[in-house]
């Protein structure tokens, strides 16, 4: 066998049995093109050095070359609904005031007074103008300098540009993004193909029904990676195997900034061939946390129907009722599967007709050994009614369990199981004699993709 052929075949092994694409062949509704994409170029199998997660040097490189260059999600447009509303976005040691300056216009200012450097805004809120709490230097919400008390003592500032420095902003899906880099690629190019893949899910029309955050004692990448593969389901979430196609999940990468996992639901794990359709149906309703109902009471599996079809149709009916319009064009996959996208570097969003879950993993300030894990759930509401106000962020204490946040329902206990690994991975990486981690060729390919893109930024 020539080297060329050998390389081509590496990384092509897949779990035996039904693939996600096979399941799509059973759809009765036309399958949208984005679900038919199956894109996983082989990226290699080399071990990865633990210094990337535990090393201070690596964090310093990210601080210099990654965070100043990437588009990053700051908040939802609905979080700052009126002109003058603002959100203070903090990333590593930087602070930004993201402000609504018009009906559909946002600006982002460096949060630092041009007089003595104090941060101008301590927290989110509303302002007619930005008055520094230290000496009172003032800017309007567009960043124009309005003055400072005792102007007679500042004639030397007359010649200087006293406008608040800005960074780039952009919006997609109701999220506001910023980029510190003047010469960055346009946001639309950076996001591609996300907007196309989310065409059926207008996230900007949804409202934030829940927002929970907590500090986790691990590097932000350890946190993000806990949600980038379904391989861990077998050992970490074994109670959901009766309805989760863990090993036959599909993993895709699209360019440098977007990747996806699709985990079939309503089918048993390939590790559990003996499960009956009735068991799958009962458990998915009881335990998934993402279905239209969280109880299997009163649900009987009709003869001749699969659990996947029965649950999809139950979801179709109940989701339609919630939003007041039919979901005739929704595939079973979009009604129940776990279709999770990652937008580089730290934002993850689900498609589908249940509440759309969003994850974000922010470095916890300048500490490379802890991160802030956030979950939002974007919800639909009945057509023709007023959009509900977004949920206030619920910040859990470090000692609280995610299951203490009732607004995220069944996700809480699942996160608690993930949480049992995150800090432990950080600790184990530090203890490691091997000093490297090994990744599954296919199932953990999105993690390799994340690191290869990080390298593109660090080596640029």
């Amino acid at each position: 066998m020539s080297e060329l052929i050998k390389v081509k075949q590496q990384g092509e092994a897949r779990c035996e049995g039904l693939s996600y694409q096979d399941l799509l062949n059973d759809e009765t509704i036309e399958v949208p093109a984005y679900l038919r994409e199956d894109s996983n170029p082989y990226m290699g199998d080399e071990d990865i050095d633990v210094a990337r997660w535990i090393g201070r040097d690596f964090h310093e490189q990210e601080k210099k070359k990654l965070w100043p260059k990437v588009w990053q999600m700051t908040c939802r447009e609905e979080d700052i609904p009126e002109v003058g509303d603002h959100h203070v976005y903090e990333i590593v040691d930087q602070s930004i005031i993201v402000t609504r300056t018009g009906e559909n216009e946002f600006k982002a200012f460096i949060n630092s007074c041009l007089h003595r450097g104090r941060i101008l805004r301590d927290n989110d809120g509303h302002a007619e103008e930005f008055v520094c709490p230290f000496h009172g230097a003032t800017w309007d919400i567009h960043g124009n300098f309005k003055g400072i008390p005792c102007k007679w003592d500042f004639s030397h500032l007359d010649e200087k540009d006293m406008s608040l420095p800005q960074v780039k902003t952009g919006t997609w899906g109701g999220f506001i993004f910023i980029n510190f880099d003047e010469d960055c690629v346009p946001l639309d190019d950076y996001l591609s193909p996300l907007p196309e893949h989310f065409a059926r899910f207008p996230l900007h029309d949804y409202y934030k029904g829940a927002h929970v955050e907590r500090v986790v004692q691990c590097n932000w990448k350890v946190g993000a990676e806990a949600f980038m593969e379904s391989f861990h389901t077998l050992e970490t979430h074994s109670e959901i195997l009766t309805f989760t196609g863990d090993a036959n999940s599909q993993y895709d990468t699209f360019g440098d900034h977007v990747s996806r996992s699709v985990t079939p639901m309503g089918v048993p794990s390939p590790h559990m061939p003996e499960v009956t359709e009735a068991e799958t149906m009962r458990d998915i309703l009881e335990l998934s946390g993402r279905m239209a109902t969280d109880s299997a009471e009163g649900h009987e599996m009709p003869e001749g129907l699969t659990a996947r079809t029965y649950v999809a149709e139950t979801n179709r009916e109940m989701f339609s009722e919630i939003i007041g319009e039919p979901l005739d064009q929704a595939t079973k996959s979009e009604l129940e599967d776990a279709i999770l996208y990652m937008l580089f570097p730290n934002t993850q969003v689900w498609t589908g007709y249940h509440g759309n879950i969003v994850y974000r993993f922010l470095p916890n300030g300048d500490d490379h050994t802890s991160c802030i894990f956030e979950t939002m759930i974007l919800m639909r509401y009945p057509k023709g009614t007023k959009k509900p106000d977004p949920a206030e962020k619920n910040t859990l204490r470090p000692d609280q369990a995610f299951s203490e946040a009732p607004e995220i329902g069944g996700l809480g206990p699942v996160f608690d199981q993930d949480d049992s690994n995150m800090a432990a991975v950080q600790k184990g990486m530090i203890a490691s004699r091997k000093g490297k981690v090994s990744l599954a060729s296919y199932q953990e390919s999105r993690i390799r993709h994340l690191h290869q893109t990080i390298d593109k930024y660090l080596n640029a």
Binding site: D85, R121, D122, N123, D124, G125, H126, A127, E128, V131, P133, D389, E392
Partner: protein
């Protein structure tokens, strides 16, 4: 001893609105948020600014001067500008439809 003071009709205040009242020489701010009524001292614990007209979002009132946010339920401030909570008062609805609060 606590005294009960009858205030404005409950219908005179809409969601996210603030209404200042003076009782026993005290400046008190009546607020409505998410359909519930709250009463707090009308003086920011950061620099004693009046809170009248401060933005209410969910259960949080923001000081118009520097933006300190207070949880109307507990008076607890967010952020670094002050760590001193706002004094809060219990608000109830009188039989005649007026709001009433209890002063210490």
């Amino acid at each position: 001893m606590a005294t009960t003071d009858t205030l404005i009709p409950a219908t005179d205040i809409t969601d996210n609105q603030t209404v200042p009242v003076t009782l026993d020489g005290k400046n008190i701010l009546i607020c409505k948020a998410n359909g519930d009524f709250y009463a707090v001292d009308n003086m920011c614990t950061h620099q004693r600014a009046e809170l009248t007209g401060g933005r209410i979002r969910n259960c949080f009132l923001a000081c118009p001067l520097h933006g300190v946010r207070f949880d109307l339920r507990t008076g607890k401030p967010m952020g670094e500008l002050t760590r001193v909570p706002l004094k809060t008062y219990d608000v109830s609805l009188a039989d005649n439809g007026n709001l009433q609060i209890e002063l210490d």
